[in-house]
């Protein structure tokens, strides 16, 4: 709509103003305040008398020997994100393909059941899985010992198995999102494409490779980008399943590491700097990924 009249302008401002005022107060102002904090020495001992100290906190993030080590936490976060996204997309697309076959009966029921992990609140997912990973009474170990005759695993008391437990929990709750997106994308593919392929005698692999994947890709790429960001930033699952990083702070991702620094150790300046580092990592990732997959067309159009 071009050639806006005065009345249109007023209407426009009335539409945008409320949201903008709220966003300014609760997103934009805090964002800049966070930058200021990250350049300051604010912590438990300097709450009122804090001052700007430059890039000291950023230097600390990268060089201070911390327990756990910053680079180990970073590597773990990358592994966590990659493994989760791999399984989310693989299972999500696979189940969507299975569910989308025309011969399957009871689609609505299967879909409702398979969406459940997404519907259950993350807090409850995390705490329930934490209970299921309990050494003596958790059902995972009970199944291992009673049904398979295997020895139980001390899931939550060793760093590596605790990390695996957190990943299993998050894979469980994350695949339905990708499944729902993939189902939506699959339903928009015209049937005659497959019929034409059948006439040409194409195998299922060829149909998958040359029709299905290229046609669901434009929908999946933004969903994967968003999924990556959400997974990288997911504090709930790691914090609650590992009970704030147990055993002895060795089960941290970057988000839980910074949450602990800020709210358990009151290192506000350091926490703010680490938040900025995480933010720039994600920004760099999203820009590269979206550029490579040409998905930014959506944003700019």
């Amino acid at each position: 709509m071009h050639n806006q009249t005065f009345r249109q302008r007023v209407f426009l401002y009335l539409l945008v103003a409320p949201a903008f005022i709220v966003l300014f107060g609760v997103v934009i102002y805090p964002f800049f305040y966070n930058i200021v904090l990250s350049l300051s020495n604010m912590n438990l001992r300097h709450i009122r008398d804090w001052r700007i100290v430059g890039f000291d906190q950023y230097i600390k993030v990268f060089t201070e020997p911390s327990q756990p080590d910053f680079y180990v936490v970073f590597l773990k976060t990358v592994i966590w994100t990659a493994v989760n996204l791999f399984f989310h997309v693989l299972l999500g697309v696979f189940l969507a393909l299975v569910l989308n076959q025309k011969e399957i009966r009871g689609k609505a029921i299967f879909r409702a059941i398979l969406v459940l992990p997404w519907a259950v609140p993350q807090l409850i997912v995390a705490l329930t899985w934490r209970g299921m990973f309990n050494y003596e009474y958790g059902s995972i170990n009970l199944m291992l010992t009673q049904w398979l005759g295997l020895p139980g695993v001390q899931w939550l008391r060793q760093p590596i198995t605790a990390f695996i437990a957190v990943i299993i929990t998050n894979v469980w709750l994350g695949f339905p999102f990708m499944m729902v997106i993939a189902l939506g994308a699959l339903q928009s593919i015209p049937h005659d494409l497959y019929e034409a392929a059948d006439i040409d005698g194409a195998s299922w692999y060829h149909k998958l490779r040359h029709i299905t994947i290229p046609l669901i890709q434009p929908v999946m790429v933004p969903a994967i980008t968003l999924g990556t960001i959400w997974t990288f930033n997911n504090l709930n699952i790691v914090w609650l399943v590992s009970n704030a990083g147990e055993p002895s702070d060795q089960t941290h991702l970057m988000v839980s590491f910074v949450y602990k620094a800020a709210f358990n150790f009151y290192r506000y300046g350091y926490g703010a700097a680490l938040s900025m580092v995480i933010f720039f990592i994600l920004l760099a990732f999203s820009l590269t990924f979206m550029k490579k997959s040409h998905a930014t067309q959506n944003v700019y159009s």
């Binding site: 409320p18 409850i124 209970g131 059902s139 469980w172 997106i181 969903a223 800020a262 995480i278």
Partner: protein, 280 residues
């Protein structure tokens, strides 16, 4: 052809097997919560995998309401979630409409900024907001938590609404204008009803975010009487063993409304999400 028929039925059988297995995987933890909630207090820590606990009882549910401030937490959570949902729907539906229909300075920048906020780690806004709330004496207040929740949900909701409005042809508004509707009338009477699926998704996301959030609430709401359901839940879980049954019962009560909402709206979920967030 006979061979073709065989492979088809084999494929269908395999498909049902796959769907069956994954349905069990999806259902098991959910059923586990029910199982815990029905356990009598002497069998909380049981080592059996039976389908229903022996001597199942509803005692935990009764205890929640008679021995714990659970009803109060329920009221608190309902109040907060409804306020956040109303704020989110009103602000996102109007702002999203402006982003979709009008051109103005800073529009592109505004839209990109909304996307960028999704990359903020939880602490990025939580930490400065927390310090600000302390300075404004809004810690331990509902206003503080409503502000925090609206802030985190709003950017995604605006983006989602904008994407959905984009799929509604502008000719509808032009027709409305010709019929003598004002701009406000075309928006509220023609466009908003058509955008119902996106509004529903926006409401659902805002409600779920507020109803189930724990990490922010743990920093802001400190008195037991101010607590929301997730804080109460976590306090039961911390005493695993003695209060594990209360945890189960509380989880069932918290989960049911969300799951019912989610499943009854799942019809809209596919169209709302793919159209809204993807066609951007």
């Amino acid at each position: 052809m006979v061979r073709g028929k065989n492979t088809t039925s084999l494929r269908i059988a395999a498909s049902y097997l796959v769907l069956g297995i994954f349905s069990l995987v999806a259902l098991y933890p959910v059923w586990q919560i029910f199982n815990i909630s029905l356990r009598p207090s002497d069998r909380l820590l049981s080592t059996s995998l039976e389908f229903l606990p022996a001597h199942a009882s509803l005692r935990n549910y009764v205890a929640l309401f008679t021995e714990r401030p659970f009803f109060l937490w329920l009221l608190n959570s309902t109040f907060i979630a409804v306020t956040v949902t109303a704020t989110g729907v009103v602000l996102a539906s109007t702002c999203g409409y402006a982003f979709s229909r009008y051109s103005f300075i800073g529009k592109k920048f505004g839209l990109l900024s909304l996307l960028v906020t999704q990359m903020f780690p939880a602490t990025m806004l939580l930490l400065p907001m927390y310090i600000m709330l302390v300075q404004l004496h809004l810690i331990n207040s509902y206003l503080g938590i409503v502000i925090m929740y609206s802030a985190t949900a709003l950017p995604f909701c605006i983006w989602q609404m904008k994407g959905y409005y984009d799929t509604i042809p502008t000719s509808l508004e032009e027709a409305g204008m010709i019929d003598g509707c004002s701009q406000l009338q075309t928006f509220t009477r023609i466009i908003l009803p058509l955008a119902a699926p996106a509004l529903v998704i926006t409401a659902l996301f805002s409600f779920m975010a507020a109803w189930t959030e724990y990490v922010v609430a743990a920093q802001i709401l400190q008195d037991t009487e101010m607590w929301t359901l997730p804080l109460g839940l976590k306090s039961f879980e911390s005493n695993m063993g003695s209060e594990w049954g209360l945890y189960g019962a509380a989880s069932v009560i918290v989960t049911i409304p969300v799951v019912v909402l989610f499943l009854s709206l799942s019809r809209w979920l596919v169209s709302g999400l793919t159209l809204g967030s993807v066609k951007g």
